[in-house]
């Protein structure tokens, strides 16, 4: 199947579209304003800008924040819970944490109101024994009550359902008997893993999102079809893989980090094409700086995240570390005379002081404006005509310069220095603190502002070079087109290795493989290859944290050959030693969970097709005064997209494109590689 593959990333401000023509490998990009509340307007408009014939589109892949926004803004459906007697408050009690360590303020409301959390007699024990069979009449009464109370979705949350789903399954059937509702989910389907709060929370949030997200995706799919689209519509998951739209409607909670995950996937692909297997990505937005690490071509996955206090989603996600230092983060001096950046932010509305939309406190972007690093006459995004440099100067003077007894320019430099040190701290956190040496990594900024700070990251953290992708503003949309199709599965096993039922483990593996392959079969997308991978979460008895133990499991034409106890012990010892340095004498090994993933590898395209075709030597289109550390330097400004492959521009210089500004500091140089990426490295570096 050849045609045009489309990636669409809907962000808070812009909807980005990336279209790849599979026949000739050419790509094109579009950026249109996001429409609200219905995002489908911008979605369709963005695609149309790159070609109006929707019948030529083979695949549309969507990175969406619809789920995340519904959670953050509490705009999901009225949801009901039917749970084990005695446990109706688990969702509200969380794991007995608090929002902030100091101050003891803040409360919490779960997404399911207590009135819509109903208990029924039933109980399964930890070993899977059913102590009390579920009272199905009580389930029916509860379902009727929830229906009458206006619930649109129902979550069935029973104790120890990971060990035996029978009571939950019977309850689901009973609910469906009397209430034809597609949005009924059981915790043992969504996450058959031990830990009731995490399982209940994930299941309840999934139910809460189902009506909203499936409605949105249905609308989009119908709109695409009505314009003649006959290809496959897929959605990016938090784990960086894509799933069919039907799966997304059933498991919307897996889209919680859809957009950012696609960005990291693209970053990894761009970097590895350019010859860098180790990358640290940095996405600088208005309120935050999001960092992610890719080692050996693999991005790190974390098992769960909190969307907000008490809103825990446990499903594998690309690990993204966020700190509150974005372009809109506010600089302020505390009562002890120390300069701080954030966490308060002016965001994009009202935004920095220079936007002139009402904010009067200086931001990181204001410092960049005052130092000449951002062109005040051509603001990024095109919403504003001109930036107000004087207002930015005045704000910096008043709030930072005077209290610290610094001139305007020194105060602006100080803001950047502290902001850079916070961003560098986030990079240290994901690299040095996890045992990765940043010297072996490239830094890849994306998002609007990251490339202004790349040089500082090289100096502060000791990263060798930065790689600015050719289109940093549409990285997430590109990631949609690149991502593989992937399904993750988990099952709690909870057994000593010594007493493991090997064939039962094999049956779980086989079930995961069968389900995963069925989803790949059902998809119309083409796959170059299929990959099955299995991991066991294991620990010694008495130990709290588990180690991920990758299992090399053999298959014969999709039939799993279960690993033996000896295989598992050997694999655990290797993984444990790699993590902690040595094994525990006489330690008893235990398996907690099985994690499987089934991946269909999608064809990749050659990024060289994005490279510039120009050969004209680089000529600066202007110069302006830019401040670096101690002095103002006359700095050449280049049109970045016009620079031919192989160009080397010595700092100081600024490379501009419609949505990004790349700063090249005086002791650095910028080199255009064969893909049109810009490599920022120390002067004279050739590697």
């Amino acid at each position: 199947m050849t045609g045009r593959m489309v990636g669409v990333d809907v962000g808070g401000t812009f909807t980005d579209v990336f279209v790849l023509n599979e026949a000739d490998g050419t790509a094109s990009v579009a950026k249109v304003p996001t429409t609200r509340p219905d995002q489908s307007g911008g979605f369709l408009e963005g695609i149309s800008q790159l070609g109006s014939d929707f019948s030529k589109l083979s695949v549309v892949v969507h990175g969406t924040t619809a789920g995340t926004n519904a959670l953050l803004e509490r705009k999901g459906a009225v949801t009901g819970v039917i749970c084990t007697q005695g446990l109706r408050d688990v969702l509200e009690m969380r794991r007995r944490d608090r929002p902030r360590t100091w101050g003891l303020r803040g409360d919490f409301e779960p997404v399911v109101d207590r009135r819509n959390r109903l208990e029924v007699p039933e109980r399964t024990l930890a070993d899977g024994t059913i102590r009390t069979p579920v009272d199905l009449e009580a389930v029916r009464v509860a379902a009727k009550t929830l229906h009458d109370q206006g619930c649109k979705a129902v979550a069935i949350l029973f104790a120890n359902a990971y060990a035996n789903p029978a009571n939950e399954q019977a309850a689901v059937a009973a609910v469906r008997e009397i209430w034809a509702n597609p949005h009924v989910s059981a915790s043992s389907e969504i996450l058959p893993e031990i830990r009731e709060f995490e399982r209940f929370s994930t299941t309840a949030l999934n139910a809460y999102l189902q009506p909203e997200v499936s409605g949105y995706l249905d609308r989009l799919e119908r709109a695409l079809n009505s314009r003649g689209f006959d290809g496959e519509f897929m959605i990016v998951q938090s784990n960086g893989g894509v799933m069919a739209v039907e799966t997304a409607c059933r498991l919307p909670v897996r889209t919680a980090l859809s957009g950012p995950a696609a960005g990291v996937i693209a970053a990894g692909y761009i970097a590895s094409s350019a010859g860098f297997e180790n990358v640290i990505t940095g996405d600088m937005g208005g309120t935050s700086f999001d960092v992610s690490l890719i080692a050996g071509g693999h991005s790190m996955l974390s098992p769960q995240t909190s969307i907000d206090f008490g809103m825990v989603v446990r499903t594998p996600m690309i690990e993204i570390t966020t700190i509150g230092a974005g372009g809109g983060s506010i600089a302020w001096v505390d009562k002890g005379g120390l300069l701080n950046i954030g966490p308060e932010s002016a965001g994009s509305d009202p935004g920095p002081v220079a936007y002139g939309l009402g904010n009067t406190r200086p931001t990181v972007t204001d410092a960049n404006v005052v130092l000449g690093r951002i062109d005040p006459d051509n603001p990024i995004g095109g919403k504003l005509k001109r930036l107000d440099v004087d207002a930015a100067r005045e704000a910096i003077d008043r709030h930072v310069g005077s209290p610290l007894d610094l001139g305007t320019v020194q105060a602006a430099e100080a803001i950047l220095r502290v902001a850079n040190s916070r961003m560098a701290g986030a990079i240290r956190l994901v690299s040095i603190e996890r045992g990765f040496d940043p010297k072996h990594f490239a830094f890849m900024p994306f998002g609007g502002g990251g490339a202004l700070h790349a040089g500082a990251m090289l100096k502060d953290v000791g990263i060798a070079r930065a790689l600015v992708p050719r289109y940093p503003g549409v990285t997430s949309a590109m990631g949609c087109v690149i991502a593989d199709m992937r399904q993750d599965f988990v099952q709690t096993i909870n057994s000593l290795v010594a007493t493991l039922d090997e064939s039962a483990l094999g049956d779980f593996m086989q079930a995961h493989v069968d389900q995963g392959l069925a989803l790949l079969e059902a998809a119309r997308a083409t796959f170059e290859a299929r990959d099955l991978s299995f991991e066991l979460d294991m620990a010694y008895i008495g130990q709290t944290h588990t180690v991920s133990v990758p299992m090399n499991v053999l298959t014969e034409s999709s039939n799993v050959i279960p690993p033996t106890r000896a295989d598992i012990e050997k694999a655990f010892d290797a993984a444990y030693k790699a993590t902690f340095g040595r094994l525990l004498e006489n330690g008893v090994r235990r398996i907690i969970n099985l994690r499987s993933s089934v991946t269909g590898m999608r064809p990749k395209f050659d990024l060289r097709s994005l490279a510039p075709e120009t050969t004209d030597p680089a000529v600066p289109r202007a110069t302006r005064q830019v401040h670096f550390e101690e002095s103002w330097l006359e700095t050449e400004i280049f049109d970045r997209l016009a620079l031919p492959v192989g160009t080397v521009i010595k700092g100081p210089a600024i490379l501009e494109q419609p949505d990004t500004t790349v700063l090249v500091e005086p002791d650095l140089q910028a080199r255009v590689d064969a893909f049109g990426n810009t490599i920022i490295e120390p002067l004279g570096d050739q590697s």
Partner: protein, 564 residues
Amino acid sequence: MSEIDPITLSVLSGRMEQIADEMDATLFRAAFNPIIAEAHDASHGLYHAVSGDTLVQGKSGLPIFVGVMSFAVKAVIEKVAADGDLQDGDIFIFNDAHIGGTHLSDMRLVRPYFRDGELFCYLASVGHWHDVGGAVPGNYNPAATDVFQEAFVLPPVRLARAGEVNRDIIDILLRNTRLPQSAMGDLNGQLGALDLGVRRMDELLDEYGASTITAALDALGHRAEALMRAELEAMPDGRWEALDYLDNDGITDEPLAIRVGLEINGDSMTLDFAGSAPQCAGPVNIALPTTVATAYVAIKHIFPGLPANAGVMRPIEVKVPEGSLLSAEFPSPTGGYTETILRMIDVIFSAFAKVAPDRVVANAYGTINALSIAGKRSNGQPWVMFSFYGGGHGGSLEGDGLNHGNAPISTATIPPMEILEAAYPVMFRQWALRPDSAGAGKHRGGLGAIYEIEVLEENGAEAFLFGERGRFAPKGIVDGQDGAMNRFSYEQDDDWKVPPLASKMRGIKLRQGQAVRLETPGGGGYGKTEDRAAENVASDVARGFVDAERADQLYGTAWREISI
């Protein structure tokens, strides 16, 4: 002393905090016992070479350690002054609570950090070990009358000399715990955290030079002091008092007063605990270092923007009379120190509420409820389920208190019910919010919890509880009402019973099928009940947080007009 510019200081302050945070994270990952690994009952930091004062401390460790760690370092400094011969690569270890604060479960490691042959600062690590001997597994012995019944006592000794670990010390440690494997895992984790701290300090000093770092550390102390003084200066001068009680000492059923006089004078403050009960026979005594550290924890909750630096305490005098429960002498038992310091925080909050009600929250539930259920399985294997339980937080100017939060001295999360049920022969019949437990007020307290735990093991089990707030309720502020008291009961053949000492009891015999039931306190309320919005009362009634008739009594009947 060289001057340091404020921007470099901002940068270095973040870098040094990150070192301490990374030491925390290193131990959390490596520790064997869940009290460190999951509940984060541990802490790390950098301390002054001469005074032992806290310079920087990790943000993820237990809040109480923020103030107490410097006493551990001071104890080592005194030992070194007496013995001489401090060398690079020495590591000291001890758990003596009368010298280092808190209780004997907390194992403290202190390591001098040298630069160019000179002592530059100290690094320290503290972690709560699972078992350190004594009469009761897990060391919460409510009937202890001296430290020797609580645990073995280790004074500051050298675990390592010039980089060589002394295996003899490890042998002594491991012979004195019921869980040697866990202890060894935790000790390795703490040593690893200290090693990491040394590496990171080396890198930082290589980059910036020792004199810049010294100047930064001095400046951070001055800044912390300036911040504290600015806060105090902004408050009115005067003296305010608050009084509350502990139920009893676990031996005799008599209440124990905790009284504070808060005096603000310009930019300084005195916290005077005169009038508090004298040292008692049971384990609710605390040593002076713990008292000073607790004052710091309360102050940091009231002024959350203050850094974790000893400079904060310079304008503050903590006065404790000799012979007080709050300055108990060796060998008085201190195993239940958590209960006493929670009450100290309560009275400090209550006193502050009289001068700056907007700055504090009403009292939280005020007890950790250390409950252990233990027995033998049919195959003869012993088991001990030990955990702390949550309760309601206090209401504040901004809003209602948090339902089912963790204690103000801790950031620990509770283990999942399913993990406990998979590990031990028990079943939770109930794990729920406790209706009618919130202190009423304009902003009510958070709700406490109900946990009912049935023994499934055919051999039965024994239960031990160390709790508080069974006789005196968590207090409301600014005319808010008190939260519900702690209530513990246990099932016997004839009926449910309650312990004679309310929330402290050991050796409760339970048969298979019998249960214990813990109903924990809610938080105190903030403001008058008549100021609570009728919508909020109606919503609480609809959700079953408060009984309808009780709501009428507390708030009047206006809420009945509201449909939600």
